[in-house]
């Protein structure tokens, strides 16, 4: 365990000046910042929107491109970035001659990549809530964010998105670990995303078996569930929004993550460092 913690700290120390780490911060700050600024200047257009609908519209802008585009590409980049530090510096040979178990070195790297994905999603969540509340305070007469509390619901969505992204992360992590160049994991990742889009468009019934489809499925299923909750509500009452976190696509994502994580370790254990 000590080896794992030391390796994890070292991963942070090594990456703290790289775009891999700062991407996890800059991406949500830039995107949410932009949405907040646009909402601020166009507040008159949504002046009569009730709190809940305002929130759903506000957080929905990110969800619109998170599933198909942002999250899968971000994961491809993070998995590459965490492994590329060693490929570029030719330091695998050094890492594996330290008196630290291979398991600790491998697991720390994997969990650090997972941490960066978590950090990025957490910042999206926190910044969406924070900027929404701030906008409500800055323009209370037009932006009625304070009428509804979406924090718990949005938290569940982002937790579910995180779990649904672990399947892709495992696949991309393994490819980036084995191959030093960016093109192979990027190319295969891109194919995965295209396969997911095609399967979704053609409404393939087993689309949930494709890991690259999981974030998208989380958000599409959610949109339908939210719509039916809102349309089915008692007139005049505020609907209560909630989601099932562990659904079929999340299960498949977790199974992929665990199985590929162990396959990756087996490869590291057997692989010669050239």
């Amino acid at each position: 365990m000590k080896g794992f913690i030391l390796s994890f700290k070292s991963e942070f120390y090594k990456s703290r000046k790289t775009f891999g780490f700062w991407g996890a911060i800059v991406l949500p700050v830039a995107i949410v910042g932009l949405i907040a600024i646009l909402t601020f200047f166009q507040s008159s257009k949504v002046a009569h929107t009730p709190g809940m609908m305002l929130w759903l519209g506000y957080v929905g802008i990110v969800s619109g491109f998170m599933g198909n585009l942002l999250l899968p590409f971000y994961i491809i980049f993070i998995a590459y970035s965490v492994n590329n530090i060693e490929h570029k510096a030719d330091t695998w040979k050094t890492l594996f001659t330290l008196p630290i178990s291979k398991w600790s070195v491998y697991a720390a790297k994997y969990f650090y990549a997972m941490f960066l994905v978590f950090l990025c999603l957490f910042l999206f969540y926190a910044l969406l809530i924070g900027t929404g509340d701030l906008l409500g305070m800055l323009k209370p007469s037009e932006l009625h964010f304070s009428d509804y509390n979406i924090a718990a619901y949005l938290g569940e969505i982002y937790l579910k998105l995180f779990l649904a992204s672990l399947g892709i992360l495992s696949i991309q992590f393994l490819m980036s670990l084995v191959w030093a160049d960016f093109l192979k994991p990027m190319g295969i990742g891109l194919l995965g995303i295209i396969a997911e889009i095609v399967a979704n468009v053609s409404k393939w019934e087993y689309v949930y078996l494709i890991p690259y489809a999981h974030p998208f499925l989380v958000l599409t299923n959610l949109r339908e569930a939210t719509r039916s909750t809102i349309t089915g509500k008692t007139p005049g009452a505020m609907p209560s929004l909630s989601i099932d976190i562990i659904t079929r696509e999340v299960w498949v994502s977790l199974v992929f993550a665990v199985v590929i994580f162990f396959i990756g370790f087996f490869i590291v254990q057997k692989k010669s460092v050239k």
Binding site: L6, S10, T18, D90, T91, K93, T97, P99, I100, S272
Partner: protein, 310 residues
């Protein structure tokens, strides 16, 4: 083969073999590196030095044979063994986006070594002034020095260095040599150092192993290697050296080499040297000098590796 002074063996391999694809690059290598020695592991480029080093560090897995370091089998005691080794393999592995100091601190973090040791190492390899410069901007020599500092950081009992003076200027080479000799003499460390240049090794090594095409051709102390070199009589003359050589041969002596105005004859005894001198004088040659010489190690090394290639 090794001297009797040997107290214990730090590195011991038996029948170590390794194959890359169809090519066997290490052939049944049995190394014996004594404690407290500087073991020069010599061989031309591509002889199998780096592969052997990677086998010793458990980065590659041998097809057959065994490796014991400090008496412990490497595979079964990987972490315990690696904890006593500092290594530098091929080009130093350095994070280019981090400064020299950060590279050392990262390693110190992993090995739980205090920051004061990082500063000591920076001073030792004379990188204090460049410590906050990005390592990617270092010259090859500076990178090499940082690589050596990284290897020394944990104060290991055994240093395994693969061509550590690559890219260093003559001063840098001398500094590293002195440093390694000091580590062995004053701190009782053992150094296993590979090189393709004998000249670099013979000034500091106590023991030598020569490898070529994956096979160990020689292993022993430097004195044992020198003893293999046959002494010669070097004769500097005025006159036709080829004719002089013929005259010497006619007396039953073996002429080993003929240069522009110098002859080399296999040494037998002092009396033989006198005899040759008299002979050449009688034949009208002016003898400027006649001395007993030892074949230098460089030539010996070449002779050993060339004989194996033939």
């Amino acid at each position: 083969m090794l001297g009797n002074k040997r107290k214990s063996v730090v590195i011991q391999t038996d029948g170590l073999s390794f194959t890359f694809g169809n090519q066997q690059v290490v052939k049944s290598v049995s190394l014996r590196v004594p404690a407290g020695s500087i073991f020069g592991f010599l061989g031309p480029n591509g002889a199998g030095k780096t592969t052997t080093i990677k086998l010793l560090l458990n980065l590659l897995h041998a097809d057959s044979g065994s490796i014991h370091i400090f008496g412990q089998e490497i595979k079964a005691n990987r972490i315990a063994v690696l904890g006593q080794i500092g290594s530098l393999i091929e080009q130093p592995a350095i994070y280019a986006h981090m400064t020299g100091r950060e590279n050392l601190r990262n390693r110190a973090l992993l090995l739980q070594i205090p920051h004061s040791r990082v500063e000591e190492m920076l001073a030792l390899v004379q990188l204090k002034a460049a410590a906050d410069k990005k390592a990617g901007r270092y010259s090859l020599g500076m990178k090499q020095r940082l690589g050596i500092a990284l290897a020394l950081l944990s104060d290991p009992q055994l240093l395994i260095l693969d061509e550590p003076t690559n890219g260093l200027d003559p001063n840098g080479i001398i500094e590293i040599r002195q440093l390694l000799m000091r580590l062995v003499k004053e701190h009782g460390k053992t150094v296993f150092i590979s090189s393709h240049l004998l000249g670099e090794i013979d000034k500091m090594a106590t023991h030598v192993g020569i490898i070529n095409n994956g096979e160990m051709l020689f292993q022993g102390s430097l004195e044992e290697l020198e003893a293999m070199s046959k002494p010669l009589v070097q004769i500097e003359i005025e006159g036709n050296p080829a004719e002089a050589a013929a005259a010497i041969t006619s007396k039953g002596f073996t002429v080993a080499d003929v240069e522009q105005d110098t002859l080399f004859v296999d040494y037998l005894s002092k009396a033989q040297m006198g005899e040759i001198n008299t002979l050449l004088n009688q034949k009208g040659y002016v003898v400027y000098s006649i001395t007993k010489v030892q074949k230098d190690l460089e030539n010996l090394f070449l002779a050993i590796t060339q004989k194996a290639n033939a």
